[in-house]
């Protein structure tokens, strides 16, 4: 519903975009008015990223038009920027070896002065922008010394530097914890109040309902609904996205067994974590909660032997000295990293190869090392079926072609060739849509019920509280308390995580 008489800042008109044989966006039309926040929602692979890239001028529509402030955008990034579009990308598009000021102003360096750049001028221009996004790091700080949340703020400051009239946020809070999210919401509201048109791409139901005036819902590249946000309930929106009813409840795993699968005592990496001790039993989901930087990921990496740490790690009662990933795998561990694209996948290799990489010895001809292609393909196909993988271009397509949720299934699926004793999952549902999220939750519970011990790290409290049998809360590198799920409340966990007493 448009306010009458206001020219839309963005008018997407019957746009279609195909990549190879796959239609990413099909005949989609919508508008965004100045001062309006429109949430673009849909499952992964629904076409949201393509819409974002079309608006940013990174890709060109096959048919239809995208008009911003009366000017058509046709696949030219610089042109899009000039007519006032700024995009905050989900995969951070920053320059890690350069400093904050250079990152923020890179696009507008050329606009102002051909020729000489003075660092002091850059800093002076960047300081108010950093203030506006609530960052207190210096404009001279090198980007690769910043934490992920801080980098996200740099990315936003970079967009603000363009003084845009249209801003596209793509999952800006995916790598942030609650406190930093609030800051982003405030920025979005301020931008809209100042008259910018905001297109907000998100999976978080909470923020969609809190922030947006209107919703544009996509499914399989098609527009399924546009609606004023207040007219929809959460459940209605979810069924629109998924195309079927979803139950809102988390699945619950049965009570765990008695035998301890993993026992960790006094884990200490000399830097980020110290004195961390806990155990996980057969069939138990052990949640690890805490704020960003509390040391949860470091615990996971130490247990799997990716990072060196002192202390003892026992699997099924057997101590393993000087843990390495190889030893961890031999002991029956599996590790699903938080950095899906960077560490979890061979992003340009085929889905089949990604699925088979851990289990290659099972499909090789012994002694020769020859891979039996058919056995490999069959097993990959079975794994895909078990994970309900949606690979529209087939298993030979590169992993890159999958949506985030399906990529995550592949990261998980590569471990399923052999029975596993312990599954470590670091932020398994980060940046994936509700449908895929529910499937990952279901898989987790299934694993637990098969007797696998699960270490679940998540920044989403409902996820940890809903799935885990027990919840360990970390603060500043220490495990401050372990709560039973019957006693754990969000308030209690947040208080402990922030360093307060339980």
């Amino acid at each position: 519903m448009q306010p009458n008489g206001v020219e839309p800042a963005v008018a997407v008109d019957r746009v279609t975009k195909r990549f190879g044989g796959v239609t990413a966006v099909s005949d989609v039309s919508f508008t965004v008015a100045p001062g309006e926040v429109v949430a673009l929602v849909g499952e992964n692979g629904a076409g949201k990223s393509t819409i974002k890239n079309l608006l940013a001028g990174i890709v060109k529509p096959d048919s239809g038009s995208i008009v911003v402030n009366g000017v058509e955008i046709a696949g030219d990034a610089r042109h899009a920027r000039r007519v006032g579009v700024a995009t905050i990308h989900q995969e951070l598009s920053l320059f890690p070896t350069m400093n904050v000021a250079e990152n923020v102003l890179m696009a507008s360096l050329a606009g102002r002065s051909r020729g000489i750049v003075r660092s002091s001028t850059l800093y002076a221009r960047v300081r108010p922008l950093l203030e506006r996004v609530g960052a207190d790091f210096s404009p001279a700080a090198k980007l690769d010394t910043l934490a992920p949340g801080q980098r996200q703020l740099v990315e936003i400051a970079k967009a603000l530097a363009l003084e845009p009239s249209v801003i596209v946020f793509d999952e800006p809070t995916a790598s942030l914890d609650e406190g930093h999210r609030e800051r982003i919401y405030a920025i979005v509201r301020q931008l809209a109040a100042d008259g910018a048109a905001v297109l907000y791409v998100s999976h978080h139901m909470h923020e969609i309902f809190e922030l947006s005036d209107r919703l544009v819902v996509l499914r399989d590249g098609k527009l399924v609904a546009t609606s004023t946000t207040v007219l929809l309930t959460r459940n209605e929106l979810e069924s629109l996205m998924v195309g079927r009813e979803l139950s809102g409840d988390m699945p619950r795993a049965a009570e765990p067994g008695r035998d301890v699968v993993l026992r960790v005592s006094n884990l200490d990496d000399g830097r980020r974590i110290s004195g961390v001790s806990f155990d996980i039993r057969r069939g138990e989901i052990f949640g690890l909660a805490g704020l960003m930087g509390a040391g949860r990921t470091e615990v996971a990496r130490a247990i799997f032997g990716v990072n060196r740490a002192s202390g003892s790690i026992e699997v099924d009662g057997r101590a393993i000295h000087r843990m390495t990933p190889k030893r961890a795998i031999a002991a029956g561990m599996a590790f699903v990293t938080e950095d899906r694209r960077g560490e979890g996948l061979f992003i340009d290799r085929s889905i089949r190869e990604n699925l088979s990489v851990v289990g290659l010895q099972d499909v090789r001809v012994r002694g020769v090392g020859w891979i039996r292609r058919r056995a490999e393909a069959t097993t990959a196909k079975n794994a895909g079926a078990r994970l309900q993988l949606t690979a529209r271009s087939g298993l030979e397509a590169p992993a890159r072609s999958l949506s985030g949720g399906n990529q995550q299934k592949v990261v998980l699926g590569k471990w399923l060739w052999r029975p596993r004793r312990l599954l470590i999952m670091d932020e398994p549902t980060r940046g994936i849509d509700v449908g895929a999220k529910a499937e990952i939750h279901r898989l987790l519970v299934d694993f637990a019920e098969q007797g696998i011990a699960v270490l679940l790290i998540s920044s989403e409290l409902p996820e940890v509280l809903g799935l885990a049998h027990r919840i360990g809360v970390m603060h500043s590198g220490r495990l401050v308390d372990i709560l039973d799920r019957r006693d754990a409340t969000p308030e209690k966990v947040i208080r402990l995580a922030a360093g307060g007493a339980g």
């Binding site: 920027r81 598009s93 350069m98 360096l109 790091f137 930087g293």
Partner: protein, 337 residues
């Protein structure tokens, strides 16, 4: 709940080992200098140091151009051939009546053009820089050989002043190298173009998404490399007073080694002109020391090869050190109550 970051502006200095890693080339140059001075009284003499500086000037000039190229995560193997062909072309035109005062400028323009041709093939045709410049290494050397008939061509005195002249009693090669390094440093650090060079090397896709003029910058970078190769040609050929068909052969390897030694990452995104100059100085001192010690020049080739590997290894552990930083840093960015 409002968020505040704390304590993140402090400069990360790291352990002693990391500090040493960052300044390897400086330390190595100092160690070599002291060791050679102790081993031979001739080494640290004024005339020998002056010789080292003059002999290293050509490589130093090319190292400036190469630093730009490598910061974009590219490589230029054709500089030795450009060094040869640019002088050969200018000399050929001189024979056909070009006034000698214009010959150096023409040589530099040839270098610029040959480099731009490399850049255009890389940026617009999209061929890998290693392949492009490997091909043009042969192409340019071949054309130059064709022009000179693979025999030594004596240069007119007007074309040798970059090699033999002096400016305020400082040898011209040293002056040229200093000016080029200074200009290069300012362009890299202080201009929009320089920042774009670094940005492209740091994250090419992000640079494209921002709408930076990626292709133009790449052409510019290889053109600069060609230009510096032509200047180095004027210096080195001028010094000899003649153009030999083998001039500059294999010199690209010395230059690349020096640049990598100087801390410029082969993966792009970071590097410094000053580091590259120290890299050249180090290699030049080692070569000179070997001559003074009457050791076979082929030992230098072997040394240069091992130095390249060691430099890349150091660069890799440097990168690893950098990756470790965010893990340390993550903890310092706590959420305030």
């Amino acid at each position: 709940m409002s968020a505040t970051f704390t304590g993140t502006t402090r400069r990360y200095t790291g352990t002693l080992g990391e500090v040493l890693l960052r300044n390897t080339v400086l330390i190595a140059a100092a160690v070599v200098f002291v060791a050679f001075s102790l081993a031979s009284s001739k080494f640290a003499s004024g005339s020998n140091l002056r010789n080292i500086a003059i002999q290293g000037s050509g490589s130093a000039v090319m190292a400036v151009g190469m630093t730009f190229v490598i910061i974009t995560a590219g490589i230029d193997l054709s500089i030795g051939a450009i060094l040869f062909l640019s002088t050969a072309g200018a000399a050929e035109l001189f024979v056909h009546g070009l006034p000698v005062v214009w010959a150096p400028l023409v040589a530099v323009l040839f270098g610029l053009g040959l480099g731009a041709l490399n850049g255009a093939s890389i940026a617009f045709v999209g061929i890998n820089p290693l392949i492009v410049t490997l091909a043009t290494l042969n192409l340019y050397r071949g054309v130059g050989g064709h022009l000179t008939g693979f025999s030594t061509v004596y240069l007119p005195p007007g074309m040798t002043k970059f090699g033999t002249g002096t400016v305020a009693s400082i040898p011209a090669p040293i002056v040229v190298a200093a000016v080029v390094a200074l200009v290069g440093g300012v362009v890299l650090r202080r201009t929009v173009f320089g920042r774009h060079v670094q940005a492209i090397g740091a994250n090419a896709e992000a640079a494209r998404n921002l709408g930076l003029p990626v292709r133009r910058v790449l052409v510019g970078v290889y053109a600069i490399s060609g230009l510096t190769a032509a200047l180095a040609g004027l210096i080195e050929n001028g010094r000899l007073g003649a153009l030999q068909p083998t001039v500059g052969l294999g010199e690209e390897l010395t230059v690349i080694t020096a640049v990598v030694l100087g801390g410029t990452s082969l993966f792009g995104g970071k590097g410094s002109i000053l580091g590259s100059l120290f890299g050249v100085a180090l290699l030049q001192m080692v070569g000179n020391g070997l001559v003074l010690a009457h050791i076979s020049p082929y030992v230098f080739d072997m040394l240069r090869a091992s130095v390249l590997i060691v430099a890349v290894l150091i660069g890799t552990s440097r990168a690893r050190g950098l990756r470790a930083v965010p893990i340390v840093r993550r903890g310092r960015s706590e959420v305030g109550p």
